[in-house]
């Protein structure tokens, strides 16, 4: 489908447009949750389980309650009836019993699980009071790793008799027949470590209860305010209209922030029970133990090839440690890893079993590119090993298997049990295009000479890999467009702004289609007070879904303008044309938009779509490995992707480069380490090593728009996550290439200096 633009040139869409949000942010005028306070507000602090697995005998808060400034201590005993559990976003038939209760009553199942909430005059006093609460817990044996969990010897949920809530099967064709017919099979085991998204701004909430109106207002919404409103209303047994979610500025989401967490309910519960606004800002230490973890996945997978390097099939098992409960989005990485492991490659026969197992660790959720980063690491490592095994060039083996435009739409494996998205297909594209662009721009031919070479004490290596990124999560998005008294156009979006530049993108799209300057568009977003229904920002959807809804609203807005203008001009609607904010008749009379303000324009737009978009691309890494320290430098990194249609090249490049650097954190340094007792050993940013601004200075990116998506009128595809997906596989392959003289296999992440050095040492010892 051809993109719907009726502008040949001079459009905002496709431009390198500075973010409209940044005027506010750079002047310190951003309004984050911690900037907001209410008279009479109380502050919450949470007492969290100090052990991984145990049975609560007693909680004695009497000493805390007599402390000055301490107003209340809430425990499970204050909740009437059953403890509410957090609703699933993507339910399946077997996960019901594993839902997370909003506070621990009988059992604690992870280090950091909330067991009590202190409400006090200040955050300091609330924290002081935590130390005065006596928590008596009987220790149960902790279940930490895969083997212990899957043996079911110790159960987290005694009633359900298994630590494996769901096994997803990804199927396509006849995998066993493919392997039986194969000339060559490569099989290996892999591991990606537990991580978290780590948004710069930690979570936080300010809940207010209006007893007269019976209304609950929750500030600090992010990602999906409308779903969370429904969840809160259900758990609070309130009508949905009695709950408002208010979105302020948000300092990053990355899939983790904005999901419904236990503290969300408890803060609101406190506000409702005691009639005081209750505010809570998560500190970094509790953030690391409370927000959704992700990525802890081991695998045993194999690829079958014909001797010419053509893939015949893929088989194997994936094991994902989802932590103590199934959180709202906890199964998404599991089913994604199974469905998307084949990635950009033509794999005619697939059978993968993806086991989700519970353990006494923080419950998992999504993190940018959920399941896809893991799967891409596995298959790209297999591809490089297969190239070596078959004696085929690493570029050539990929060229023989990358998807082409003649195969679109290309169906991926079907994943059962269904969470509503069992089947999916790549929508458009020619995967060789970004691949060849990266081959060219990385100077692959020239750098091929480097492979494994020792220069000034460091071993150099290169690698290339490819990825697909799912986007445009359905089912719908809504916007409302209103002509304001000052002549500006208010755009009220159901999409959420989590730091990705939503106001800019939606303003560009609206301005182009209304033929108005961007500064005439004012975007309001993410709060349930603007619209009856909305969805939010997740699964790389805001541009495609929200942007397409803007188009619908803009059409209706212009129609209303024509109607009002025709009435004022005393002509029929057909006799009026509209351009650049002015309605005109053929005889030269005109009405500017400002003159119909009194007539009122207030229109709803929406876009419905259940078909995901698939941005795709390739990336290249050139690394230099210091064998003495195990340090890996990224000498060069190039990524190219085709996003269907570029809306804003500046924010797009920001997404891609930011995601690449976030991926370097995944490959080299970020890890949520637990000890054998299930204690989280990572308590601060001195332990959780996110990339610093100076760590990875060289990341280059190219964006293509050769193959618009047929799924939406913009032709756009989601582009917020792709950049992180190939990083694990490509960097690990580059390290393997650099250290090829040692024959190391970097199959376990992260590639910390210690691990890289040990791989080399162990290889040396074998010689």
């Amino acid at each position: 489908m051809k993109p719907a633009s009726h502008h040949a040139q001079n459009t905002y869409i496709g431009g390198h447009i500075e973010r409209v949000e940044d005027y506010r942010f750079l002047r310190g005028e951003g309004q984050y949750l911690d900037d907001v306070s209410r008279p009479g507000q109380w502050h919450a602090a949470f007492l969290r389980s100090p052990i991984a697995h145990g049975r609560i005998r007693k909680i004695d808060a009497s000493a805390a309650l007599v402390m000055a400034g301490v107003h209340a201590v809430v425990t499970a005993n204050d909740i009437e009836g059953d403890i509410p559990t957090i609703p699933f976003r993507r339910p399946n038939p077997t996960i019901g019993p594993y839902a997370q209760p909003i506070i621990a009553r009988e059992k604690v199942r992870y280090f950091g699980e909330p067991v009590a909430m202190v409400l006090a005059e200040s955050a300091e006093l609330a924290e002081d009071a935590l130390a005065a609460i006596v928590l008596d817990i009987e220790t149960l044996p902790p279940v930490i790793e895969r083997e212990a969990a899957m043996s079911d010897k110790v159960l987290l949920f005694e009633d359900v008799k298994t630590n494996v809530p769901t096994v997803f099967n990804a199927d396509k064709g006849d995998a066993d027949a493919a392997f039986a017919a194969a000339d060559y099979v490569i099989r290996d085991t892999f591991y990606t470590q537990r991580q978290t998204a780590l948004p710069m701004e930690t979570r936080g909430l300010l809940a207010e209860w209006d007893a007269k109106l019976g209304k609950l207002s929750v500030s600090g919404a992010a990602k999906l305010p409308f779903f969370n409103r429904k969840a809160m209303a259900k758990m609070m047994k309130l009508p949905e209209e009695a709950v408002d979610y208010i979105e302020l500025d948000v300092g990053g989401g990355f899939g983790a922030r904005g999901e419904f967490y236990p503290e969300d309910y408890l803060v609101a519960f406190g506000a409702r029970k005691f009639g005081h606004p209750v505010k809570w800002i998560e500190d970094r230490r509790e953030h690391l133990m409370a927000i959704g973890h992700s990525r802890e996945c081991s695998s045993d997978v194999e690829l079958a090839f014909r001797k010419d390097g053509v893939i015949l099939g893929m088989r194997g098992s994936l094991y994902i440690n989802i932590g103590a409960y199934v959180r709202p989005n906890g199964m998404t990485p599991v089913r994604n890893a199974a469905q998307f492991m084949s990635g950009p490659y033509r794999v005619p026969a697939i059978h993968l079993d993806a086991y989700a197992f519970v353990s006494n660790k923080t419950p998992a959720g999504t993190y940018r590119g959920p399941g896809r980063y893991e799967g891409c690491f596995f298959i790209e490592r297999l591809m490089d090993q297969a190239a070596a095994g078959l004696g085929i060039d690493r570029l050539e083996i990929r060229r023989r298997n990358l998807l082409t435009h003649t195969e679109m739409p290309y169906p991926l494996a079907t994943v059962l049990p269904s969470d509503g998205r069992a089947e999916t297909q790549c929508d458009s594209g020619h995967h060789l295009e970004p691949f060849e662009l990266v081959v060219h721009d990385s100077k692959w031919a020239e750098k091929s000479a480097l492979q494994g070479t020792l220069i000034d004490g460091r071993y150099h290596g290169i690698a290339i890999g490819s990825f697909i990124e799912g986007g445009a999560s359905g089912p719908q998005e809504n916007v409302r467009m209103e002509l304001h008294a000052d002549g500006k156009v208010g755009l009220y979006a159901g999409s959420s702004a989590i730091g990705q530049g939503l106001e800019t993108i939606l303003s560009q799209i609206a301005a182009d289609y209304l033929e108005l300057p961007m500064d005439r568009i004012v975007v309001f977003h993410g709060s349930t007070t603007y619209l009856k229904e909305g969805w939010g920002s997740f699964g790389s959807r805001a541009t495609v879904m929200g942007g397409s809804a803007v188009l619908d609203a803009a059409k209706k807005f212009l129609a209303a303008f024509r109607t009002h203008a025709a009435a004022r001009l005393g002509v029929t609607i057909e006799e009026v044309t509209v351009s650049e904010g002015v309605a005109r008749t053929a005889d030269g009379r005109s009405v500017p938009l400002s003159e119909v303000i009194a007539d009122g324009i207030n229109v709803d737009g929406s876009f419905k779509n259940q078909t995901p978009t698939y941005t795709y691309g390739s990336s290249f890494a050139h690394v230099a490995v210091d064998a003495g320290t195990g340090h890996v430098e990224i000498v060069d990194y190039v990524v190219a992707d085709d996003v269907g249609r570029i809306i804003n090249s500046m924010t797009l490049h920001g997404q891609v480069m930011g995601a690449a650097v976030q991926g370097f954190g995944s490959v080299f340094s970020e890890e949520l380490v637990y000890n054998d007792e299930g204690q989280l050993m990572v308590g601060s940013l001195a332990d959780y090593l996110v990339p610093l601004a100076s760590d990875y200075p060289v990341v280059r990116c190219h964006s293509l728009e050769n193959w618009p998506s047929p799924t939406n009128p913009l032709g756009a595809k989601g582009a917020g996550e792709g950049g992180i997906i190939p990083v694990g596989g490509v960097v690990a392959n580059a390290v393997a290439n650099a250290l090829s003289s040692f024959g190391v296999k970097p199959n376990v992440l992260p590639l910390s200096p210690s691990r890289v050095w040990e791989m080399i040492e162990d290889a040396r010892a074998k010689v």
Partner: protein, 288 residues
């Protein structure tokens, strides 16, 4: 991560500060730049009754270069060391090491005295003090005394200071112009605590042999360490590849570091040798 309750005073003289510490009866703590101790308090790992801030006490922030050596006041900040032109010739090892201290903002606040009193074996200053045979001048209720660096550090985050004693200055003995030196540190990201670090120097005698070798190690023990066996390898030998290889092996053999979430013990042990090798190569190749 909110600070616990504490009293705060910022007296104008050392006598007043000491009186406040005495009155605190072991529960009052002096504070300088606050870059290490304030986070400790935020984690509720320390809850002093009072912080006695040394910032208003005059005369503690001088850098003096004289015949006896380099004297750094306790309130000298890392930034002062890095900005001081004279130190680059008088004691080049010092600014080279201090470059590795944390990040820009922290270097603007953190102090020499604070780091010595905090006694983190992963920090640069304690190891530099130990390696350079520094002498730390302190004053307390019982008066002044001088403590050799080797006697100051007695355990992880533990010193031989009394609870009413305040570090006033540290003297790093003068360096001959011909001294050879090297400093190497490796951390996972720039500014992180070192996985290991090595400070090394030696003098070259008339026959071109190394003498007076000093080697200090960061982050591989409970305290800053001197690697005496590796030093013994160097003394009396020409610093060539063979000598460096022997010293490297000796250094790795004499340390017994712990593993943690950032690196294994085995790795750290080897890393000390690697870093010593690089430091000695830098020293040998440095123009005297």
């Amino acid at each position: 991560m909110k600070l616990p309750h504490f009293e705060y005073e910022a007296p104008g003289t050392l006598d007043e500060a000491i009186a406040l510490l005495v009155a605190g009866d072991g529960m009052a703590r002096p504070i300088a730049g606050g870059q290490s101790f304030v986070p400790v308090m935020a984690f509720r790992l320390a809850e002093p009754s009072m912080l006695v801030d040394l910032r208003n006490i005059p005369g503690l922030n001088k850098i003096e270069i004289g015949a006896e050596g380099v004297r750094l006041g306790a309130m000298v900040r890392w930034r002062d060391i890095l900005d001081h032109a004279g130190l680059k010739t008088a004691l080049a090892l010092l600014p080279e090491a201090i470059e590795h201290v944390a990040h820009y903002q922290i270097r603007n606040r953190g102090t020499v005295g604070g780091s010595l009193a905090h006694a983190d074996p992963a920090a640069e200053m304690p190891t530099i003090a130990l390696t350079c045979d520094a002498v730390i001048d302190v004053v307390g209720a019982k008066g002044k005394r001088s403590i050799r660096a080797g006697d100051l550090f007695i355990g992880p985050l533990m010193t031989s200071l009394e609870s009413d004693e305040i570090i006033v200055s540290v003297l790093l003995p003068a360096w001959p112009a011909t001294r050879r030196w090297g400093f190497q540190e490796f951390s996972r990201r720039r500014g992180d605590f070192a996985l290991a670090g090595v400070a090394a120097f030696y003098d070259v005698d008339a026959s071109g042999l190394a003498q007076n070798a000093h080697i200090g190690a960061i982050s591989v023990g409970d305290t800053p360490l001197r690697l005496t066996k590796a030093e013994a390898v160097l003394n009396g030998r020409k610093i060539d590849d063979a000598t460096i290889a022997d010293a490297t092996a000796a250094a790795s053999a004499e340390v017994d570091p712990n593993g943690d979430i950032h690196a294994s013990a085995r790795y750290r042990k080897a890393l000390v040798g690697t870093l010593l090798s690089r430091a000695l190569n830098a020293a040998a190749n440095r123009k005297a």
